[in-house]
Amino acid sequence: MIVLFLLLGCFLGIITGIIPGLHINNVSLLLLFFLPIADLNIAVLIISMSIMHSFTDFIPSILFGAPEAESFLSILPGHKLLLQGEGLLAIKLTIIGGLIAGIIAVIVSPIFAIFLVQFIPLISLLIPWLLIIVLFSMILSESSKRTKTIALIVVILSGILGIIVLRNYFSVQNPLMPLITGFFGVSAILYSIKEKTAIRKQKIQNNSFQINSSIFSSILAAVSAGIVSLLPSVGASEAAFIVRKIVGKISTKNYLMILGGISTANMIFSVIVLFFIGKTRTGTAAVIKQIIPLSFNELIIIILAIIASLGISAITALFLAKFLVERFHRIKYQKINIAMLMFIVGMTILLSGFKGLIVMSLSTCVGLIAISSHTKRTNCMAFLMIPTIVFYLGI
């Protein structure tokens, strides 16, 4: 019986992953609302759905530029590889990262949870200063005085917009969605339509990856995910971004592995850590806490479900990505862009209302400033970083 729920969860995870804007937290809450009995079977369903989602949500991000909260940073390196005909490789890299970091997370999370919880006050003290250094380094890394000035403007505008929306001065439902889609999705799609970007035929081939660099990236991802799973207000994407800035020269390929790894490992850590210290950070873990007792037997079931889901998700995501990429060049990219634009606008209105549309329009404008001035679009990350700094400084 429990295996059926596991497979059903994986199936739902494919749907939530490939449809941009459909978030697992919303689906989990809907399940709790409609199902008469919430028990261990439902917990397994929610976990397998979340793990599958963490693998498949990179597919629309990389192929269609449709961003989601956990994967939006993959649009930038993913799109770079897509333009080179390496879209499938980009997705494979996130899958490898997810798989290896997921295995590491299962093995080390109990020790990590007990050990790391001692250092949380110290890490919480360091976080705002680390983010401030990263923000300044982002601006200073621009090549000319002109781009440095524009980067500063983009950081300030993004930060102000982030504070206004995320601190509810302008209350919007699902506030992350319109912000992310504007900064990283709609702005890039509009620019792509204007530039008439053409996507070359994608390479469908077997790839080989260096084991050492794959494991190194996955360890970085797992460690970051472990920290993120205990810290409020710091998300998976922010963690990947901070890691890239701290470690320095990380190749596009390794960065994609880290992004994939953090997304999956964060989900696993948050659920397993819940059993050890009773704290939750993700929506999935919060739902699990509501429906099952946090006892040893349940923990074993949850860990086994995570292991099975990791394997099933990696295989499914590999085949799904290959299936879509093989057919990708048959559709005109301009048509995909227009369809995706309409879909994103529709989902934003549906999930965040017309207020969300206003937020999306504003963040799109800021994103367009960055793209058209050839400054790095990651400067828009200030929309998350500045509210996090403000939160940790207690302002």
């Binding site: 494979k92 790839n207 080989s208 990856f209 079931i301 990696a314 295989i315 590999l318």
Partner: protein, 121 residues
């Protein structure tokens, strides 16, 4: 050393098969034993059981719901910690219910610590 597509598939396949196999076996071992109040004795302490019985009396404390079950004239005390509003409603109906929980000894008597309680339609 390099990691090829086929290695990734093999690792994923092994994880899937092992995960599903152990999950099936372990979840079966966790299935509660269907029993009756009459058959419960001291040797069942720590056993996870499922019982269908009628609620005859309830008592509400700050931390727990305490209630008494009757089945063919035999009674058993049950306790539910972290109870919900639905649990309270279910008890007020005083109808036939199915409970799953673990047998334990409290004040020299056997009782069941309830995990799940549901209405029998």
């Amino acid at each position: 050393m390099e990691l090829s597509d086929s290695t990734i598939l093999k690792v994923s396949l092994i994880l899937s098969v092992l995960g599903v196999a152990f999950l099936s076996v372990f979840s079966l071992s966790l299935e509660p034993t269907q029993t009756s109040i009459e058959n419960i004795s001291s040797k069942d302490i720590g056993l996870r059981v499922s019982i269908e019985a009628k609620i005859i009396k309830t008592q509400l404390t700050q931390n727990a719901l305490i209630f008494w079950l009757n089945q063919n004239g035999k009674t058993l005390q049950a306790v539910k910690f972290n109870y919900s509003l639905e649990d309270l409603q279910l008890l007020q109906e005083k109808k036939q219910i199915r409970i799953t929980g673990t047998i334990q000894k409290y004040n020299k008597s056997l009782e069941i610590v309830v995990e799940k309680m549901e209405r029998i339609e």
